[in-house]
């Protein structure tokens, strides 16, 4: 971070937990010459550039359909939010430096070399206005997975030292302290002791051996502690020997969101090593969207071999436990609308599990117009919710989601991502919206039958 040391005090009082709004922004980290930044960006981009990414870079026909799927474009009508445009400097660099006809582009100077100024300009497009929700992938006639390319571009941006102030700060705190929101092992332990006493629930911590390792998101630990209690109640009722590990409990992965692959690996390895240490057969991820991508789909690749345990999102765990008869629920005579967390549903494939849990509750499920794999993002994913300067843009995107939830006419709204929940809390406060986005897990825990 350029300039003086930054302390980045946390704001844990607002509806949205992040660092406090910076008085002065430092969106450029480190003191380096532009050439060094570009070289670092280029190395990082090339490092992870495989066959799929090359196929995508080659295939765009500039039809612009992806704009029609992006909540940021739909909310603003500004063409710069067209998803594929967010990758323009990287497409340009690919064509000039790495594509099959790169030598032609270079010799004839058909594509200019990308500059640091362009990358700085694109920071907003790659971070503030992309939640990596992947809705654009659903509409692209060429099937280009734009969200995965944004992930690669973020690797390059991090290496170039061009990450938005807040996202860099929370990622750095997560790497240093083990949590982006100050949920250190000491804080976790104190919270769990307090919750166990207050709610009279058994929460085993640091058992040397357990069948199931439970993990949490820092948002749950700091903002929604009832989710921790709900996790404990469900796991206790399911009859598994389970534990929380103070060595590996934080499932959020700001290394992944900010684009730092080394930090992503560090954060994933804490969970993996904790599960291996207690000989867990199953690791249960919390109500967190990107944690699912980070560990369920990328965790084994961080380890470099298949994980010696299964990984389930808590909604999948609920569905399995219900199907196996490990838990039973009392009926709930309500209508419910479910908000699909993009990383769990659209990009993770676990779309059916929460609906199976809702079916077991006996509720009347009222889907939004766009649901499941086609649903709209809350606007806060991909780290966007941490970035203060993105607030107005995010509220615009949230308005689309809010309207669809309202149109469902359901009595209750639930989701299975705490980051989505805090985006809803923040949007609710901003718009004075009457509705409250609840937790599927907490709803299930409340309805556990004796």
């Amino acid at each position: 971070m350029t300039g003086a040391e930054q302390s980045h005090p946390l704001d844990l009082e607002s509806p949205r937990f992040s660092i406090e709004k910076p008085a002065a922004r430092y969106d450029k980290q480190g003191e380096r010459a532009d050439a060094q930044r570009l070289a670092a960006a280029s190395r990082a981009f090339a490092r992870d550039f495989g066959r799929a990414a090359a196929a995508y870079m080659e295939s765009c026909i500039h039809c612009g359909n992806c704009a029609e799927a992006c909540h940021f474009y739909l909310a603003t009508g500004d063409p710069k939010y067209t998803p594929i445009w967010k990758l323009e400097p990287f497409k340009q660099a690919y064509k000039r430096e790495a594509g099959p006809f790169a030598w032609i582009y270079r010799v004839l100077n058909l594509k200019r070399a990308v500059t640091v100024a362009e990358l700085e300009e694109w920071q907003e497009l790659l971070y503030d206005s992309c939640t990596m929700c992947g809705r654009c992938t659903q509409i692209c006639p060429m099937g280009i997975d734009i969200a995965s390319l944004v992930g690669l571009a973020r690797h390059a941006m991090f290496e170039a030292g061009l990450v938005p102030h807040e996202l860099w700060a929370v990622a750095e705190r997560a790497e240093r302290e083990g949590s982006p929101l100050g949920a250190t092992p000491k804080v976790l332990k104190e919270r769990l002791e307090w919750l166990a006493d207050d709610y009279e629930v058994d929460i085993p911590v640091d058992r040397p051996e357990a069948e199931v390792l439970a993990t949490f998101s820092s948002i749950e630990i700091m903002k929604y502690p009832a989710s921790l209690v709900a996790t404990a109640r469900v796991l206790n009722r399911s009859g598994y020997a389970w534990t929380v590990s103070t060595a590996g409990y934080e499932a959020t992965n700001f290394g992944m969101l900010s684009g730092n692959l080394a930090w992503q690996r560090d954060m994933s390895m804490k969970l993996i090593e904790a599960a291996i240490a207690c000989k867990a057969k199953l690791l249960v991820l919390p109500e967190c969207g990107h944690a699912y991508t980070a560990l369920r789909w990328q965790g084994a690749n961080m380890l470099g071999r298949p994980l010696p345990f299964r990984v389930l999102h808590i909604s999948e765990f609920l569905a399995e436990a219900l199907a196996a008869g490990r838990i039973a629920l009392r009926r709930l005579e309500k209508s419910v609308v479910f908000h699909d967390p993009c990383q769990v549903s659209r990009r993770g494939g676990a779309t059916a599990a929460p609906r199976e849990a809702l079916a077991a509750l006996g509720v009347e499920l009222r889907e939004t117009r766009d649901a499941g794999g086609r649903s709209f993002c809350c606007g806060g994913g991909g780290g966007v919710v941490t970035i203060h300067r993105a607030d107005e843009l995010r509220y615009g995107a949230f308005r689309i989601k809010m309207a669809q939830i309202d149109a469902s006419g359901a009595e209750l709204a639930v989701t299975s991502c705490s980051n989505c929940r805090q985006s809803f809390d923040d949007g609710r406060a901003h718009f004075g919206w009457e509705r409250q986005m609840g937790s599927l897990l907490e709803l299930v825990a409340e309805q556990l039958a004796d």
Binding site: H62, K80, I104, G143
Partner: protein, 224 residues
């Protein structure tokens, strides 16, 4: 060497060579890239089926998006099908292919050929109008977009100059007026040579990128 002789000889050979070499080179540029092993536990192992499904289903947009993309999609179908009818269904074109490959097939009826011509002209002009007027498309467009449009339109325009031939007439070995025929052939050869180096390569790249995503999403059990 007469212009027509040049178009039927060295120019055609060069265009075909560029088409083949460019296509192979571009695909090799993709397939030579490494594929990192994915150690995550797959939800489904039917990845080949997922790839094929994505290739097929991306021919049409999912219902959620249709209201926003229907006109553009229908127009694209219009000029793609029109081009196919014009190229593969016109007697002189079939004769041209037969001379090169020995293959032949029945021509389409005159009314269908005329419809193909109309759909292609109207569709390409509409596509150009949208690209010029849409802020999104104006932002995304580069030289490749404009050149590819022009190179696709050129054989249609030059074709109209020789359309005075009866539709059912066979490929003329020695046309009365050889220059327009040569121009038509040269414009087609330009299209052939340009295709693998440009966005027109989506003719084959669509299968690669759709297949990649279809396989990846099938592995995760995710809807596409």
């Amino acid at each position: 060497m007469e212009l027509l002789e040049f178009a039927r000889g060295p120019a055609l050979a060069l265009a075909l060579a560029l088409f083949v070499i460019g296509t192979v080179w571009r695909l090799a540029g993709i397939f030579r890239r490494p594929v990192k092993p994915d150690y995550s536990e797959p939800r489904s192992t039917a990845v080949a089926a997922g790839a094929l499904k994505a290739i097929a289903t991306r021919m049409w947009h999912p219902a959620n998006f249709r209201s926003r993309t229907l006109v553009g999609t229908l127009n694209a179908y219009g000029y793609h099908l029109g081009l196919a009818v014009v190229f593969f269904g016109f007697v002189p074109h079939i004769a041209f292919v037969e001379r090169l490959t020995g293959l032949r097939w029945p021509a389409v009826p005159d009314w269908l050929f005329a419809l193909g011509v109309a759909l292609t002209f109207v569709g390409l002009l509409y596509a150009l109008m949208v690209r010029l007027s849409s802020p999104v498309l104006r932002l995304l467009s580069n030289f490749d977009d404009w050149a590819s449009w022009a190179v696709t339109m050129a054989p249609m325009v030059t074709g109209m100059a020789v359309i005075s031939l009866p539709i059912g007439a066979s490929y003329p070995g020695a046309p009365a007026n050889p220059v327009p025929v040569a121009m038509h052939l040269l414009s087609f050869e330009l299209l052939l040579a340009w295709l693998p180096f440009s966005k027109l390569a989506h003719a084959f790249l669509a299968f690669v990128s759709r297949g990649q995503t279809g396989a990846a999403f099938a592995r995760k059990g995710a809807e596409l």
